[in-house]
Symmetry: C2
Subunit: 408 residues, 2 copies
Amino acid sequence: MNQPFEALKRGAFEIIPEKDFLSKLEESAKTTRPLRIKLGIDPTAPDIHLGHSVVLRKLRKFQELGHQIVLIIGDFTARIGDPSGRSETRKVLSEAEIEANTQTYLAQIGKILDTKDKARFELRYNSEWLAPLTFQKIIELSHQFTVAQLLERQDFAMRYQNARPIGLHEFFYPIMQGYDSVAIKSDVELGGTDQKFNILVGRELQRVHGFASPQVALLMPILEGTDGVAKMSKSLNNYIGITESADEMFGKVMRIPDHLIPRYFELLTELPMNEVVSMDKALKANQGNPREWKAKLGEMVAAHYHGADAARKAAENFDRVFKEKKTPEEIPEFIVPVDLMRDGRAVASKLLVSANLAPSMREAKRLLSQGSVEADGESLKDENAVLQIRDGMVLQAGKRRFVRLRTG
Amino acid sequence: MNQPFEALKRGAFEIIPEKDFLSKLEESAKTTRPLRIKLGIDPTAPDIHLGHSVVLRKLRKFQELGHQIVLIIGDFTARIGDPSGRSETRKVLSEAEIEANTQTYLAQIGKILDTKDKARFELRYNSEWLAPLTFQKIIELSHQFTVAQLLERQDFAMRYQNARPIGLHEFFYPIMQGYDSVAIKSDVELGGTDQKFNILVGRELQRVHGFASPQVALLMPILEGTDGVAKMSKSLNNYIGITESADEMFGKVMRIPDHLIPRYFELLTELPMNEVVSMDKALKANQGNPREWKAKLGEMVAAHYHGADAARKAAENFDRVFKEKKTPEEIPEFIVPVDLMRDGRAVASKLLVSANLAPSMREAKRLLSQGSVEADGESLKDENAVLQIRDGMVLQAGKRRFVRLRTG
C-alpha cells in the first residue's frame, strides 16, 4: 500500500485522474521534487469555519509529506468586480481591502497550515499574470472551449434553464482560474466538488500549453453544517468557526446529529479510518454510545485549534453544565433595567428579550410556554410569567444561554 | 417630405430606430457636421459583386449628401484567425496578405465610392484599438451582455440547437465589432440584415460609453442572385461581379427571372421609385414588356461600371446575337481533334463535349434531342447526329455558347 497516496486520498470525493496522481507522487518521491499543490481563493472578508478546513487540512497533509502549497489570491477578479452592479455576488474591492482580507485569511489558515516556510508555502496574486494578458491571448484561451461546454457547468446550466441571466464575463472566470494553473505550474489543484469544472479547465489549459503532465483535480466533499442537512455556512448559522473558543467548538460538536459523527471524524480529524469505519457500522446498527463519540470528536476538533489542555477543559465545562446540570463557571451578568421592574418583579418575556436570551417577544413566549426557561433551576411554565427577581439569580433560556441578573 | 431621408431609406430593410436616424440627419443639416457612416469588412480576398454593391451604393448616397464614410478593415480578427484550426471559416492572414486584400478591395469599391477625398472617406484598421485592450476592459465590455442574449443571435441559436460547437471566442466577434463603433464614434452603421445583432451591440456599447446619441442601424436586404432564389454569391455562381465586362453584365441581367426586375431596379439603380412601383404592378398583372425592362436594367447596371457608351454597345451586341440570331463579332475557335473525325465527319455529342459546349455526354445528348444545337444555324435534332464538318463552321449550343470549328 502506498501510504502517502492513501493518506492523501482519505476523505476525497474524487481524484481526476487517480492514476496520474499516483504517478506524480511516485515521480516526486523518486526525484525528491516537491509537488506544487494549488488552492485559489477569493479575497473576500473570510471567516474560516470547519467547512473550509476540510480542504486546508488536506493541504496540511501535503505539507507534512514534503510538498509545496501555492495559495493564489484572486485579486484580479476582485479588483474588477461587477462593473454594472447587476449581480450582487461581487463587489469591487480596493487594493487595501484585498490586502487586509488576505492578511486576515492568512492569520486564520495559519492555524492549520504552515504559512511561514517558503519551501512549503508560496503566496501569489493572480493579477500578476492576468492583468497583462492581451486580447489575442484571451481569444486563444477562449477558443479552447465551446459555449455548450461552459453551459454544462452545473450552476450555469441551472441558471440558463431557469432563464436567470449569466453575464458573458462570468464565462471568463473558469478560464482565468484555469490560466492560474498554467502560470504557477501546479501539479494538483484542490477544491470542493463544486470546483470540478474549473479545475478541469485548468488541466485542459495546461495540456494546451504543452505541459507533459497536466494538473490532477483533488476534490474534497462539501461538509454538512451542524444541522446535518445543509452545507456548512455562516449565513445558515450551522457553522463552527475556527476562531471560536474551545467551549463553543465542543458545545457545537455535541449538538450535531449522530449520523454526522463518522463523516466529521473522517474529514476533520486523523482518527484512523478503521476506527471510523467500525464507528459507522455500530451507529447504523444502533450500537455504541454516540454521546461519547461526539465528546471524543469535540475534544479532537477543539484540540486542533486550542491545544489538548483547553480541549479537555472545554469537555469538562460542558459536562458540568449540561450533564450535571450546573451553571458554568462564568456566567455573563445582566443588570436589570429599572423600568422593567415593579416591586422587585418583572415580566419574564420582556426580561428575556431585554437580556438577549430571546430574539423577540414571540420567541420569548414560545420558550416560556415550552418550559425552556429556568430561573435558578426552576422552570417558568407560563408565557405570561412574572418573576420575583433577586440579585444574583441565574436565568437560563434553552440549553446554553444564561445570564446572572443584577439589580444594580 | 425630407428628401435626403427618403433617398437614404430607399430599399432599406430596416432602420433602427428610424426616429433617431431622422434627428441625426436634421442635426447634421443644422450644424453642417457630416455624419460618420460605418462599414466594417473582413480583409479576406474580395471579389465584389452586385450583392455587395447594395450596401456600397447606399454609402455612395451618403457621400453625395455630404456625409463621411468610415471603412473599418477587420485586421485584428484576421490576424488572430482560428488558433486551433477547428473551424474552417477563418484562416490566419499575414499582415502582407491583409494589406494586399485591402488594396484589392479599395480598388474595387473605388468604382462605387469616392475613396480619395479624405473628408468623405476614412480608412481604419481595428487592430488600432482592439489589440491594446486590457483584460479588465474586455471583461467590462462582456459584462454588458448575457449568454442568453448572444445565443439569441440567429446563427448561434441554430448551431446551439443543432449541437454544433460554438467556440467561446466567437462570442467576442460581436463585441469587437461593437467596440469598433465606440472607437470611431459612428452615427450610422450599415450592413446586411444578417448584421442586425452585431450592429445593435455597437449601439448598446456606445450607449454604455456615454454617447448621447448612439449609432443607428441601417440594414439593407440581402440581394438574390441571378437565379432569383438564393443569396447572390460567388460560390453559387449566381452573381454579377463588378469587374465583369459590360457584355457579361448585360447578358446576365437579361437572364434573371422577371420577378427580380423591380427589386434590382430598386437596389441597383436610381430609377425613380414611382417608376419601379408601376413596373412592379404591371408585372404582377402580366402587363408590359419584361424583356424591355431587363434591357433597360442591364444597360443601367453596365453603365454604372463601364459608362453609358459601353453599356449601349453591350445592349447592341446582345441584340445582334440573341435577337437577330446573328453570330457575335468574336467567336472562339476550336480545332477539331483528328481522332474525333472520320472521313470529315464527327459524332455531334462527342464534339460538343470536346469543344466544351456541354459538360457531359449526357447533357450533350439532351441538348441535341431538345433541338438546342445548331451547326451554321441549322438545328441538329437527333441525339446521335453525325455532323459533316467544314472548316469555319459555327457550332452553337443553347442560346449563348458558340465555337468556330477549325479542321487544323
